[in-house]
């Protein structure tokens, strides 16, 4: 039974339960609604809730757990010898899954009988060609262990799906029956339903916590795995980044320092562009601009923040890079070798951050009480003197928080540096040289052909962990400062 029909049937059971519950409640009150504790819909909703919610919960949990169980069982079946040189269990398992899917599809399209797919012990060349004939993608020659595993895989999955359907349907029916049975005129249906809804609302709020937990766990487990293969000291203090994709990446040097240097250098350039421009723009818009100018200029600036980063990346690669190259390149000053450089990425990232800095600072400057301005004007200060000597000092903590948030943005930015900063990891002071960042390397390590279990791929998780910790630290400090500051004038 396909998942779609299972969901539809559970929903149908819930609907029938709704009607039954409502009817039973009305009947128990002798058809007079006034004798019921709650409105009739609540009796219906109570039954529907008891039918659907536990059933869907079981369904989701089963779907999450089943692949995990099947995977660990099947990978136990594959003998060491089946995992060839230069291959890994993960690759073999992928092959097994593909074969199983191929069998499934071949049966579904009628080119193979179910019995044949289950029990074939015949010539494996034959099966490979038959699968290929059936239009299924089978990469290599299917060997006996793979075929066995694929058959077992297919049987386990289909059995699992069968049991899942039964359990889910039973849960739905049992829930519906329970709901109908407890329905009577005195039953406090509204309270029950509302309590149920509150639990659902709470679990929705819990998803935020689960996401953070998921991020931390996925980073921690893979990072620990990485540090088992590669010494942590070399990672944190290594001065060279040169992953070698050949073999298992044994000769790779994976030092994070050049990447961190590139990250901070580019972020610094970006902030050097964004902070002065953004801050002056915020001061101008909140203190000088007429309401009409403000109504036009502020949304226009904020458009810059709404543009996807891929657009900025392309802008850096194809417009800003060549432009800088024509000025600083061999035809100009001769200090720039290629269009992709720290300056290119930093400049474009700075443009992206201008509205971020300006609108945050704008909010903060606006939060400075008018009385402080009036006091300063009353003493004879000019507007600029008021801004420099009263407003900015008062808003300083908030502005620092805004800058920290912008810095965390800059450090975590990916597409601009992937396209604009280059791919070479180096420790250099020249801002016109190509450098690379933590985020750019996460992308390149995980989108390459490297095996998931090798250090050159796993290093991405350690990089991600570093990135996560750094940005989280900046965010927490920044949010703390901003919140503290807001309270000051509330």
């Amino acid at each position: 039974m396909s998942l779609f029909w299972l969901v539809v049937i559970v929903l149908a059971i819930a609907l029938v339960g709704y009607i039954a519950g409502r009817a039973r409640a009305l009947a128990s009150a002798g058809g007079d609604m006034r004798d019921l504790h709650s409105l009739p819909v609540y009796y219906g909703a109570n039954v529907a809730m008891k039918a659907a919610v536990p059933a869907f919960l079981i369904l989701v949990l089963w779907l999450l757990v089943q692949p995990f169980v099947v995977h660990s069982n099947i990978s136990g079946m594959i003998p060491e010898s089946a995992v060839g040189d230069g291959s890994s269990l993960g690759l073999v398992m992928a092959e097994v899954r593909r074969t199983a899917e191929g069998l499934e599809n071949a049966v579904a399209s009628g080119q193979m009988t179910d019995d044949f797919a289950r029990n074939a012990r015949t010539d494996f060349n034959d099966i490979t060609t038959r699968l290929k004939d059936a239009g299924q993608i089978v990469t290599s020659q299917i060997t006996q262990p793979i075929m066995r595993a694929a058959q077992a895989y297919r049987i386990m999955v289909s059995n699992g799906n069968f049991y899942m359907s039964i359990v889910v349907l039973l849960a739905a029916i049992a829930g519906a029956l329970w709901g109908v049975r407890e329905t009577s005129a005195e039953f406090r249906a509204r309270n029950t339903v509302e309590r149920g809804i509150q639990v659902i609302l709470f679990s929705a709020a819990l998803i935020a916590v689960l996401t953070t937990l998921g991020i931390v766990l996925s980073l921690v487990f893979n990072t620990v795995e990485f540090f088992r293969l590669y010494p942590a000291m070399d990672f944190f203090f290594g001065l060279t980044w040169s992953p070698s994709f050949s073999g298992r990446g044994g000769s790779s040097e994976l030092g994070i320092l050049p990447l961190l240097w590139g990250t901070f250098y580019i972020s610094f350039v970006a902030l050097a562009v964004a902070v002065p421009v953004g801050l002056f723009a915020a001061v101008y818009l909140s203190e000088y601009a007429s309401p009409r100018v403000r109504a036009v200029a502020k949304p226009m600036l904020e458009i810059l923040a709404g543009i996807p980063t891929i657009v900025y990346g392309l802008f850096a690669l194809l417009t800003v890079g060549p432009m800088l190259l024509s000025v600083f390149g061999d035809n100009g000053l001769g200090i720039m070798k290629a269009g992709t450089a720290v300056m290119t990425a930093g400049l474009v990232m700075g443009i992206m951050l201008i509205p971020f800095v300006s609108s945050l600072s704008d909010d903060i400057i606006n939060a400075v009480p008018q009385a402080m301005r009036d006091g300063s004007y009353g003493l004879g200060a000019t507007k600029s003197e008021t801004v420099k000597q009263v407003i900015l000092p008062a808003a300083l903590p908030g502005i620092v928080g805004a800058i920290l948030l912008a810095a965390s943005r800059a450090i975590g930015e990916t597409m601009i540096v992937v396209l604009g900063a280059g791919a070479a990891a180096r420790l250099s002071l020249n801002p016109f040289e190509a450098m690379t960042t933590v985020t750019a390397k996460i992308v390149s390590q995980l989108t390459g052909d490297a095996d998931f279990a090798s250090p050159v791929a796993l290093v991405a998780f350690a990089l991600g962990m570093t990135l996560f910790v750094v940005t989280l630290g900046l965010n927490i400090v920044a949010l703390y400062i901003v919140r503290k500051y807001r309270e000051q004038y509330d």
Binding site: A204, L279, Y288, T309
Partner: protein, 449 residues
């Protein structure tokens, strides 16, 4: 604004000059200096705003001027008749496609001469301009034997260099002779353009097509990845809106004041600032490595983007719930509604415009997100075709618009760069539509209490 005699710095000077009282209209040095610095400061601010707007204009011009060529393509249109005898003769040849190519060249020559142009050219030059034509023609006649003997019109795509020449990317000055195109070929191209054989048409394939191979920039289209983005947005909408609203209602209306609630709130504000690439790592590790969901599937992309969009939606939903005045709640409770009823029957409908606006803005953000999609395998070259059906659209490998643009940008071929800019125009059109929708919604339905 400032009164000179009142400013503390000038008063001693004024006292010293008691004999000769100064007019208030004559500015002294210090005032002039202060006024100048005031003016300067103001211009710095104005300059900063103008710099920001200048960048916006530069960005917009770059996108439009570079992207427009992606929407046109250059075709070579030739009409000729192939008789049954010619077909049979060609099929007997050793190099069959070569024979067909000769027919094509003859027809081309004929059409040129008809309009009084005579430019000498050889098969090699034609091959450089339209690629190998023989195969296409042969396939056409093999598939439609009925077309033999009647005039058939062929629309063949010009090579990417010729395409570049017709939209200004390649000029006579920048072109270097190579096996792709030679300077002398441009004379032929000019002649063909003049006779109307080579012409520029609107490139529908760019909007409806799928990604092509690395060697065929002309055939690349963004349609398939638009579909991928669409399925992703469906997942994001149907997961993040209910979950976000439910979480906001809980936090805003029911959550007790305790440490656990605090933890949830801190979590949400931190998640809003976690770099998007980290969500990609989460998706890779949890959805693909751990749960074994299919790689490159819009479903997985949608799940990752849902987690990313949730904080945005929760923050805006809570703001709109908070904006509903307490008198509404009190009135509902006063006539005997339960708390749940007061929220679902009164507060939520009133907050709905604000919630929808926030959701659309969150969706627009998710639509432009690239980095996490790359990690879960939704790169451009996966988008080779449309999904077969609605359900398979969620699980079949596909790409998304921004990832497709990235793939083109990474191909380091000028013809693909053009496609990338064109893709950005399409992406921005979608984003603009969504944002305008959000603004309209806000203007129309938002109530100020």
């Amino acid at each position: 604004m400032t009164d000179t005699t009142l400013s503390p710095e000038t008063s001693p000077a004024a006292a010293g000059d008691a004999a000769k009282p100064k007019s208030l209209y004559a500015l002294d040095d210090l005032t002039r200096k202060r006024n100048a610095s005031e003016k300067r400061f103001k211009y710095y601010g104005l300059g900063a705003v103008l710099i920001g707007l200048f960048f916006l204009v530069v960005l917009a011009t770059a996108i439009i001027s570079e992207g427009i060529p992606a929407f046109t393509r250059t075709i070579v249109e030739v009409e000729f008749t192939l008789t049954q005898e010619q077909y049979d003769a060609a099929e007997k040849e050793l190099f069959k496609t070569k024979a067909y190519e000769q027919f094509f060249i003859n027809a081309l020559q004929g059409q040129l001469e008809e309009s009084g142009m005579s430019v000498p050219f050889d098969a090699k030059a034609i091959e450089r301009i339209v690629g190998k034509t023989g195969g296409t023609i042969r396939e056409y006649f093999k598939a439609n034997p009925g077309a033999l003997g009647a005039p058939a019109a062929f629309e063949l795509a010009a090579s990417s260099r010729v395409d570049g020449y017709s939209n200004g990317r390649v000029t006579r000055e920048t072109l270097t002779d190579s096996r792709f195109l030679e300077k002398s070929d441009l004379d032929i191209v000019d002649a063909l353009v003049e006779t109307g054989i080579i012409k520029t048409v609107f490139n529908w394939n760019f909007i409806t097509g799928a990604d092509s191979g690395v060697d065929n920039p002309g055939g690349a289209g963004i349609g398939a990845s638009v579909v991928g983005s669409f399925f992703m947005m469906l997942v994001v909408l149907f997961l993040s809106l209910p979950i976000g609203v439910a979480a906001s209602i809980y936090l805003e209306e029911f959550a007790p004041q305790n440490r656990f609630t605090d933890m949830i709130e801190v979590n949400i504000s931190n998640l809003a600032a976690v770099p998007s690439i980290v969500f990609g790592i989460l998706g890779l590790a949890v959805f693909i490595q751990f749960m074994h969901l299919p790689q490159s599937a819009p479903l997985v992309g949608g799940l990752v983007l849902t987690l990313m969009t949730l904080p945005t939606i929760i923050i805006s939903t809570r703001a709109s719930l908070k904006a509903v005045p307490p008198s509404i709640r009190d009135a509902a409770l006063g006539v005997g509604a339960s708390k749940m009823q007061s929220i679902f029957h009164h507060v939520l409908p009133l907050a709905m415009p604000g919630i929808l606006t926030g959701t659309i803005i969150g969706l627009a953000q998710a639509l432009g997100e690239t980095a996490p999609l790359l990690l879960i395998g939704m790169v451009g070259f996966v988008a080779r075709g449309y999904p077969d059906g609605f359900i398979t659209g969620f699980i079949e490998p596909n790409s998304a618009m921004p990832a497709q643009i990235y793939t083109w940008a990474a191909r380091a071929d000028y013809a693909f760069y053009e496609k990338a800019w064109g893709g950005i125009i399409i992406l921005l059109v979608f984003l603009l539509t969504m944002n305008i929708l959000a603004v309209i919604l806000r203007r129309r339905f938002e109530r100020r209490w």
